[in-house]
Amino acid sequence: MIKNYDDLLSLEYLYKKSLDKQRKKVLVCAGTGCVAGGSLAIYEKIKALVKENGLLVDVDLTKEEEGIGVKKSGCHGFCEAGPLVRIEPSNYLYLHVKLEDCEEIVFKTLKEGKPIERLMYQTNGEVYKTQEEIPFYKKQTRLVLHNCGHIDAESIQEYIGNGGYKAAAKALKMAPMDICKLITDSGLRGRGGGGYPVGRKWSQVLAQENPVRYVVCNGDEGDPGAFMDRSIMEGDPHKVIEGMLISGIATKADTGYIYVRAEYPMAVNRLQNAIDQAMEYGLLGDNILNSGFSFNIQIFQGAGAFVCGEGSALTASIEGERGMPRVKPPRTVEKGLFECPTVLNNVETFANVPIILLNGADEYRKYGIENNSGTKVFALTGNVVNTGLIEVPMGTTLEEIIFDIGGGIQKGKQFKAVQIGGPSGGCLIYDENHLKLPLSFDSLASVGAMIGSGGMVVMDEDTCMVEVARFFMSFTQRESCGKCIPCREGTKRMLDILEKITEGKGEMEDLNLLYEVADTVKNTALCGLGKTAPNPVLSTLEYFYDEYLAHVVDKVCPAKVCKGLASIVIDPDICRGCSKCARICPVEAISGRIKEPYIIDQNKCIKCGACIEACPFKAIQEV
């Protein structure tokens, strides 16, 4: 039980010293990705081996011991290369570690201090020994993710040893108004998509008359292709809790909720574990650090609905209702959870807060650009060489992200487009204006995209943009809550039209109609889901109109993705006229004379592909 600020400082000192005593630390990534790759077994094995050799130190940092600490860390962001093992203080990063590699790691690296090059990141014949040198990490600024992958995600002691909860302790000595002002001065804007100034939101809640207020952390993260919040909740849960606690102090709220989507069981466990620890240490609960301030946090598990990420749907869901957004006003700051003033912020937003409190607003603003201070975490996926979770200062250009950090396009292909902001975002293309654009809430909005939660899907030349629009529309259509007419009926209609086009049945009128529906839904839908659902359609219509025309007028899919538009043809130069294909075709689309080239009647062919397989001479192809 920590009773006051001095207690906290002396504990920090104790844990830090204990950590420093550990000669070596082995951090086995225990994020979802690496666990899926078998990292838990690797952790157990390394631990056992170290123990056998009498080198293991206790996880309890109250004792100062010399030896090797073996820990489970959170996600490093480089999940694709997992399971990852990081060795400190040499900062070696081993990739794709297998159970068989454990002995070598223990004997060679831990005992002898030698690197194992075959497990290290290599490109163009160059071996990158330390994590920090790897291009994927080198260009990043890991502020929010600082602890992720570097500390034991299940230990409050390590968090405290690294300066944890000092920000909250500091906040407890400040006037709520001053905390709000500090956050306002830092320029922090919400990381959940909207970019609303956090300090302003808190001040509004603080100013409400109702004495009952809530702090809600939005960990619904339903955007397909995004896992920033998950990694933070799993890798550094205490930082989220500390951020919420500070928000509670700043807005005089005494209860917090964390809404975590049901698909994230590990995040729930880590958060619950962290909450229990914080309670035990007196950092949550009644009369925290003897300040008279009390704060409790509960976890609420979602039940599977993307729309519950929307603020009013989220609160409705906690209140035991269908997660349907409601009309605003009243806004959440006035009447949010249980009709009380509520701070609703995103996981990453909360994780920024302790940093600002500790370092001050000016320091924080050194990161990022005017009106968009700090960093942003992105989930870089798709056809780039290095996929994973990255953190860069606001204002970084797409080019830097895709080519410097992401390592460019896979397999030497050409870059075609990048979709930012998931299903509610837009597609940007390879042109100066887009790729050199310093990323910020405002710059993206100006080109019809949005930062959204930070999903970033890179697409290469083989991607069909009409199909991409169809894919995102099928997502929003499925996830619409069905309350308002434009979104409920409109997303369905847009999807129908896009399906029609990708099946090769589109007509010119469909393009106009598609635009009209998109325009209507964008402008009249009730909530953010509907208002942004047409973005992928509108942005692809704007930047890739040619591709739509090709589908509709020429009836071809330039990227050869849309099956309905492919034609199956026989190459007369290869065909030997054996008639095998004609016999197998279910619709009798193939005809010809024995020993002469056969032909396919394109009007009859249903593109089943049976003939392709049947031809012994590989004369039939899809074009």
Binding site: V327, K483, I485, K492, R493
Partner: protein
């Protein structure tokens, strides 16, 4: 809040309007809506009420508060385009068989489609046919015509507290229906029909039983007699362009005769019987302090609500039959004999403001040897349909008077049709000779009006009687809970399921949106009849006396329910 805004270039002043929509409507612009009813919570789902602001933003006017200096356009090119698209989207997922539709000509979807000139369907029709629910004795639910505006859900949950209809599923799959896909007759639906009042389309309609009446009329061997409930006469006119509250009983009498009904009577007369029976029953229970409070029994939706939710309180409900069933019971007494004499069959039709009365008439206890006390219940709405079918000119038809003997009613019987009416009628009997005219007026005023719960305290023979009047089942439920918990105490409680009482029943004509004003006008129609009635009190009705003496001959049993 007050201030001014510019709407379509014209400066207008606002003063406490809850939302921009009301302000727009107060300025005589009929902005289209599907999901807005001033008495329900704001749902904001149809987006038809969208308007454009001067900086090009599109906002839903039902859910924004007026703001000083704001400038909006209600009919800009963009707004028009969006509204059309919303309608197109709706229609393409709607069973569009207007010519065969119960609601045609009075359907909001249809009329807006006309108004916005939707004459081409650019989307392919996409409707997965769902089963129509004919199971309820009162209403028909056709999900193929539902636009999911949520109005019925809100009425059923927020106003009636029954919560039979609800949203289920999500996205395009959203449905409005009873839980677990049950039919209405398998649910707790009390048949009040309030959902049908707010539904903008034909997704919920009254179970139309006019054909049964035609069949009876065309059968030479059948004598058709009709009883007309009080509330019908102050609302039917709305179907023919009259203002709510205008009294049309004379026209109803002459038209029913044109239709072929043989004898036309007044349910207000049997209401007089109810007053007498119920006040006697009350005084009896009150003196014995037995099963109090006594709940009124004339609203079948209320009775069913209690049976469903508070079975232990059924003993508190008056054993008196409702006026409709008292009429049926008495009429059968008279006509059974007559039928035998002239070899005919008597067919009893009620014309009621109420969908629940259809269910009431079908209840087992109101059938004897396979013969129902009331054969068919027509709602005001169905009567209007029949009138339109025969094509008489409602404006010009002469008024006629009702038939005898059951055509004379007191003012007390007439005001049954509005909330507080039953109580006032009973008080007129209990307080007779006890107070001066003015004192009684003051007491009566306490129970009049549209407030959700009204109270009165009277002293009779040195004992204090506490009375409550409540309408709307959700309000009634709150009251019951308070009574059960001992927080409140009453001796007599009048409950009407429909807000405002029967004048706003589920079988009445539907204005675009039913408001307090509609209710108030219809109620004042009833009070205006009361004003000119020579007989004010039930006990003074000479027909009532003759029923007791000549027909019942002391056998009051048939006026009560025996279970």
């Amino acid at each position: 809040m007050s201030g001014s805004m510019i709407i379509d270039g014209k400066k207008v002043y606002f003063d406490n309007q809850k939302n921009i929509l009301s302000l727009i409507r107060d300025n005589n612009i009929d902005l289209p809506t599907f999901c807005y009813h001033s008495e329900l919570s704001i749902y904001g789902a149809c987006r038809m009420c969208s308007v454009e602001t001067s900086d090009g933003k599109i906002i839903a006017s039902c859910s924004e508060v007026p703001c000083n200096g704001m400038e909006i356009y209600t009919n800009s090119p963009r707004i028009r385009k969006y509204r059309k698209m919303i309608l197109e989207l709706l229609l393409s997922n709607h069973e569009r068989d207007c010519t065969a539709c119960e609601r045609t000509g009075k359907c909001q979807l249809q009329s807006l489609a006309r108004r916005y000139g939707i004459n081409k369907m650019r989307f392919n029709q996409l409707i997965e046919e769902q089963e129509v629910d004919y199971s309820s004795p009162s209403i028909i639910r056709n999900p193929n015509k539902c636009i999911k505006c949520g109005d019925c859900v809100m009425v059923c949950e927020e106003i009636q507290g029954v919560g039979v209809l609800g949203f289920s599923h999500r996205g395009t799959e959203v449905k409005v229906k009873p839980a677990f896909g049950k039919n209405l007759n398998e649910t707790n639906c009390v048949n009040c029909g309030q959902c049908r009042i707010v539904c903008p389309t034909a997704a919920i309609t009254i179970k139309n039983e006019t054909q049964k009446v035609w069949d009876a009329i065309y059968d030479k061997n059948i004598r058709v007699i009709a009883q007309i409930a009080p509330a019908v006469r102050v609302a039917l006119g709305e179907e023919f362009g009259l203002r709510p509250g205008q009294v049309t009983i004379g026209k109803i009498a002459s038209i029913l005769r044109r239709i072929g009904v043989d004898e036309v009577y007044d349910t207000a007369l049997s209401a007089d019987l109810t007053v007498i029976e119920e006040s006697d029953e009350f005084m009896d229970r009150f003196s014995k302090n037995e099963n109090l409070p006594l709940f009124t029994s004339c609203c079948p939706a209320w009775v069913k609500y209690v049976e469903n939710k508070y079975p232990e309180l059924t003993k508190n409900i008056s054993t008196c039959k409702s006026p409709q069933q008292m009429f049926g019971a008495v009429a059968r007494e008279v006509y059974n004999k007559k039928d035998q004499e002239d070899g005919k069959k008597t067919f009893i039709v009620s014309v009621m403001p109420c969908t629940a009365k259809k269910a009431e008439a079908a209840r087992e206890e109101f059938s004897h040897d396979g013969i129902r006390e009331v054969d068919v219940v027509l709602t005001t709405q169905e009567l209007a349909i029949m009138i339109k079918e025969i094509g008489v000119n409602f404006d010009t038809i002469e008024e006629e008077s009702l038939d005898m003997p059951f055509g004379v009613a007191s003012g007390a019987g007439i005001i049954f049709g509005t909330t507080g009416g039953v109580t006032e009628a009973v008080l007129r009997r209990l307080l007779v000779d006890k107070f001066g005219k003015e004192d009684s007026e003051i007491i009566f005023n306490n129970v009049r009006g549209l407030e959700s719960v009204k109270e009165a305290t009277v002293e009779v023979d040195g004992k204090v009687i506490k009375i409550a009047v409540v309408h709307g089942l959700k309000e009634a439920d709150t009251l019951i809970k308070q009574i059960k918990s001992g927080e409140r105490h009453y001796d007599l409680v009048e409950v009407m399921a429909c807000t405002g009482g029967c004048i706003a029943g589920g079988g009445q004509p539907v204005p675009r949106t039913i408001t307090k004003e509609t209710r108030a006008l219809r109620a004042s129609g009833l009070y205006s009849i009361d004003k000119v009635k020579p007989i004010k009190n039930s006990q003074d009705n000479y027909i009532v006396k003759s029923i007791y003496n000549d027909i019942l001959k002391g056998n009051k049993q048939i006026l009560h329910i025996h279970k």
